[in-house]
């Protein structure tokens, strides 16, 4: 956990210097290999380092939760309710005497899981729809684009709430809801470049040589959009983590006793006067996770696609 608070300190005090370097360091023609460029960028930019560090810590925390948690996140320590942070419970305990630190550590599993799965859903469905819309054009494009328009016509949280009102509140349904809401952002990213790529000579050539459309689409057209998709996925993960926290905060996501950061913060609020640590630690965990994926996204954009941003 020491590493984590260190990361947090860096984020609040030093990240400024980095954004500066990011903007000044304009992309130049690069003949070196991708790997060396990625490494050079990482060394040059403080915000990239912070992003990579925060995300690594979070993933490590999620994987090793059973090992690094000092206590069982669900265990009631009856005699130690609402204890201030101390050496035995570094983040204090909640109203049932559960260890807040262990719950925050296990909470990373939920956030990472929701982030990855919901973005995977959106990427698969949105990407496929965008590919079809761009490649076939005509009425297929019109129908798919209108579907994207309609999904885009709802504020993110509102549409997720609609989906959850139908499916019922649960963590699985949150992943589905966020996945649906994020479909158009991926669809639109794919559609545009596919539209222009399908007229490239090499795509034309492979079609003339008798390749079927799935082969043309996946082998020749898709690689054109890989870079923006990777960048968008990273940023979407941070948005998904934020949305899951909001939905769990409203009681529509993770159900008790699951230690989701949003619901911990929500239930901690009634004790805000006597036990502020119940709200502050899960809240900080959300901030650092979202910040980490945002910075990682900026860094990947810098490395993969210097033209955008």
């Amino acid at each position: 956990m020491a590493e984590k608070s260190q990361g947090q300190q860096q984020a609040s005090t030093k990240s400024g210097v980095s954004s500066n370097q990011l903007t000044e360091d304009t992309p130049q023609r690069d003949t070196r290999s991708f790997r060396s460029r990625a490494w050079r960028r990482l060394k040059a930019s403080l915000s990239a380092k912070i992003g990579v560090t925060l995300v690594s810590i979070m993933i490590l925390m999620a994987i090793t939760a059973p090992i690094v948690s000092p206590h069982d996140p669900l265990l009631f320590h009856g005699q130690y309710q609402l204890m201030e942070p101390n050496s035995y419970f570094p983040f204090g305990t909640d109203q049932y005497g559960r260890d807040v630190l262990s719950r925050v550590i296990y909470g990373s599993q939920i956030s990472i899981q929701v982030g990855l799965i919901s973005v995977a859903i959106a990427l698969t469905i949105g990407g496929t729809l965008g590919l079809f819309a761009g490649y076939f054009g005509g009425w297929i494009d019109s129908v798919i684009s209108r579907i994207f328009d309609v999904i885009f016509a709802f504020p993110v949280i509102l549409l997720a709430i609609v989906v959850l009102a139908v499916l019922g509140p649960s963590l699985t349904n949150v992943m589905i809801a966020i996945g649906i809401v994020f479909i158009p952002q991926f669809g639109r990213i794919v559609r545009g470049p596919v539209l222009s790529a399908k007229n490239n000579e090499y795509v034309e050539a492979s079609r003339v040589m008798g390749a079927h459309w799935p082969r043309v689409m996946f082998i020749h057209v898709l690689p054109n959009v890989a870079a923006p998709l990777i960048v968008q996925s990273t940023i979407a993960i941070s948005l998904a983590i934020l949305s899951e926290a909001a939905l769990s905060f409203l009681g529509l996501g993770a159900q008790p006793p699951q230690p989701a950061w949003g619901s911990m913060l929500s239930s901690g609020r009634q004790f805000i006067e006597v036990a502020s640590w119940l709200s502050i630690f899960p809240g900080l965990a959300i901030v650092l996770a979202v910040l980490g994926f945002n910075l990682l996204g900026d860094y990947l954009r810098d490395v993969l696609d210097p033209r955008i941003g």
Partner: protein, 316 residues
């Protein structure tokens, strides 16, 4: 210009129809129909009576007829009856709307008030510590969920001023001073992330404009930097910012749902969350429809405004 507005209005129609289908469809996708929901599982009602009720509400008709009947009602302002309070849905929404509108307006007001000067300063002092500071504060604000910021603000004001969010809501017309006290913290909590987005937009837009030739010309004429920025650069730099403000106003309507819950404000967001907890579907439908349509109209307005400010857009 008229042609452009007309074209945008026509483009909005399929989206509005799509929204209405989603909103209508959501209650049909729920297991069991509305009659079952009203009576409840343990209801002492015979099957015959259930059929009668279904006929009464038109649930025995084909789906597309049901949709048309419902849509006709919506267009004429009849969105059904709340299953909880037995009040018309439009009455319930109208009752809560002033709170949400005030919250949305104040959040955007604070966000713009802070963001535009910060964005300009960051652009003018490009490469300085000031810019780096502005940039990192925006990054942090973007990563902070509004409900966490709201909680921190409550904690801070209660510790330092002994001030707690009020349990009861007071309208502006009853007591303006008390009303503003209630709204200030939620507006800041809701506006912070938006402020960060607008700051970043203002900064990059200003930076781009400052690199243009006409700005160099203005400088070469010997105009002071203040005049160059306020007279020549600012106006053009703010055009893309307006779009962001518009789009974010729409997203604010989603954010109020959470912030109203944090600060106990009786707006339409709170209404939506309570209706979901009580499975009051007509009200959920009403709120969702209302917000989505408002969202589309705001975006439409922004597009028109954008085209008015930047005539090049109209001819694309």
């Amino acid at each position: 210009m008229t042609a452009y507005i007309a074209r945008r209005l026509v483009q909005a129609i399929p989206v509005l129809i799509g929204i209405s289908i989603v909103v209508f469809g959501m209650t049909r996708l729920i297991p069991g129909d509305a009659v079952d929901m009203m009576i409840g599982i343990e209801g002492q009602v015979s099957d015959e009576q259930r059929q009668e009720m279904r006929a009464l509400f038109g649930f025995d008709q084909p789906l597309h007829i049901q949709y048309l009947n419902w849509a006709q009602g919506v267009v004429t302002g009849n969105m059904g009856i709340s299953m909880r309070t037995s009040q018309p849905v439009d009455y319930e929404i109208a009752n809560r709307l002033p709170v949400t509108l005030q919250l949305t307006f104040l959040s955007m007001f604070f966000a713009v008030l802070i963001a535009i000067p910060l964005g300009i300063i960051a652009a003018i002092k490009s490469g300085s510590r000031t810019e780096a500071g502005v940039q990192s504060v925006s990054l942090l604000a973007l990563a902070t969920p509004n409900f966490f910021l709201g909680t921190l603000l409550i904690l801070f004001t209660s510790r330092t001023f002994g001030w707690f969010p009020s349990a009861s809501y007071v309208s502006f017309t009853d007591d303006p001073w008390r009303n503003m006290q209630i709204f200030i913290l939620p507006s800041i909590a809701l506006g912070a992330a938006i402020s960060a987005i607008i700051t970043r937009m203002t900064r990059s837009s200003m930076l781009e404009i400052l690199g243009r030739e006409y700005v160099t010309t203005a400088r070469a004429k010997g105009l002071s930097e203040r005049v160059v920025i306020s007279r020549h650069a600012l106006k053009n730099a703010l055009i893309p910012v307006i779009t962001v403000v518009g789009v974010q106003t729409g997203q604010l309507l989603g954010g109020v749902i959470i912030i109203e819950e944090v600060f106990n404000l009786p707006g339409i967001g709170r209404l939506a969350v309570q209706s979901i907890e009580r499975r009051d579907y007509p009200v959920i439908q009403g709120v969702v429809l209302f917000v989505a349509v408002a969202f589309v109209l705001i975006n439409l307005l922004v597009d028109v405004l954008y085209a008015y400010l930047d005539p090049r857009i109209r001819y694309n």
